[in-house]
Amino acid sequence: MSSRRPPRGEYIETDTGNKVARKATLVGTQNIMLGGKTVIQPDAIIRGDLVRTIHPSSQSGGNAAPQNNTAISIGRYCFLSRNCCLRPPGRLYKGAFTYMPLRMGDHVFIGAGSVVQAASIGSHVHIGAGSVIGEFAIIKDYVRILDGTVVPPNMVIPSFSIVAGQPARVIGEVPEGGHEAFELRDLYKTVGNNPQPAPH
């Protein structure tokens, strides 16, 4: 209690407010973009080393701009729970295999033990625990995916859907006024090296 700053907390807190657990596995960190205020809990895996190996511009000269090698970009106020796994999706493109970037918007919650290989996830998305998001799935804004859902590869989930099942189906719609439930600002404050109690 006496020292203002404990020498080793469970999390590394960056200047932009990201809270990354020391026990999280981040591979290829130079290719992972965190938007700020993002929480990465212990034992989460993020595969930044699986970068895109074929660039659409590379055929026409390709020396115009430095190539953007971001494998995974994550927006603000995202929350990656324990044991989740984020990896870029991969496929055959013009006869050669390549990984494609995985993009996530703001306020995305990923539940414990979920495996995400989507192409893009919009903002204000809640993915329940134990879910599997197949390769190249596209999830739009304000989507709630219930626990244990298996989203098949290439599925496109429209905005304001509630999705569940194996394989995933749209089972309902986010009700009017149910949008505040997606806000993760309060959740962000409850974790870290000096967590605050959740407000009521």
């Binding site: 020391r22 595969r47 190996t53 295999f97 298996v150």
Partner: protein, 214 residues
């Protein structure tokens, strides 16, 4: 970087020179782990040869947190409990003991993967004479029970379960709700080619550290 997850004894390994194994992969156990040419082991994949041999064929891909081997009771806790069990307290004793035990227990408690097998994120393949045939894909979070024999070119969809001792015929698609059907698309050649391309790319992207496990 996360602390080393190495727990328990270091197993004797037999690696092909063209294999790609990430530094963060976890290999434990007392029996032989052999991995054949051009296979890829992703970080945090777990190979446990405590119960018996682990053999991985050519051009296999083992993804993150996949668990191959380990006792039938529970995948993730087995490695921890094994450390506490008597007889394998020190790595040297375990390796010395394995020489005598191997002749009886290696075959019935082994895990064998054929060629072109993909084991996806978080899948579990239990030890106990378990075999997975060529070209089979074990989906995300799927579970293959002890002693199960999965045929060639099967697809285990995400979170599906093959119960212990079960025999799954070739070309079966196992669905998570327990239903089965047969894959008649005849895509095996194409799938193998795609996997070979994927391995080519992975070999460039993943820095291989086989020396760490030798």
């Amino acid at each position: 970087m996360a602390p080393s997850a190495q727990s328990g004894p270091k197993p004797p390994v037999h690696f092909s020179s063209s294999l790609t194994i990430a530094e963060l992969a976890v290999l434990t156990g007392a029996h032989h782990i052999s991995i054949h040419s051009e296979s890829v082991i992703h970080p945090r994949a777990r190979l446990d040869s405590l119960a018996g041999r682990v053999t991985i064929g050519r051009r296999c891909v083992v993804h993150e947190r996949a668990m191959i081997g380990g006792s039938a009771s529970s995948g993730l806790t087995s490695a921890r409990s094994s450390v506490a069990s008597p007889g394998v307290l020190s790595p040297t004793a375990a390796v010395a003991g394995s020489g005598g035990e191997a002749s009886q227990s290696a075959t019935p408690q082994s895990v064998t993967l054929g060629d072109y097998v993909t084991v996806e994120v978080g899948a579990t393949i239990e030890a106990g004479g378990t075999a997975v045939g060529d070209g089979t894909v074990v989906g995300v979070g799927a579970r293959v029970g002890a002693g199960a024999v999965v045929g060639k070119h099967c697809t285990l969809t995400p979170q599906s379960v093959v119960s212990p001792g079960e025999v799954v015929p070739d070309f079966t698609v196992v669905l998570a709700n327990g239903m089965r059907r047969t894959d008649r698309r005849g895509m095996t050649e194409l799938k193998n080619k795609g996997l070979a391309r994927q391995i080519e790319v992975l070999r460039r992207l993943i820095s291989s550290k086989p020396a760490k496990f030798a």
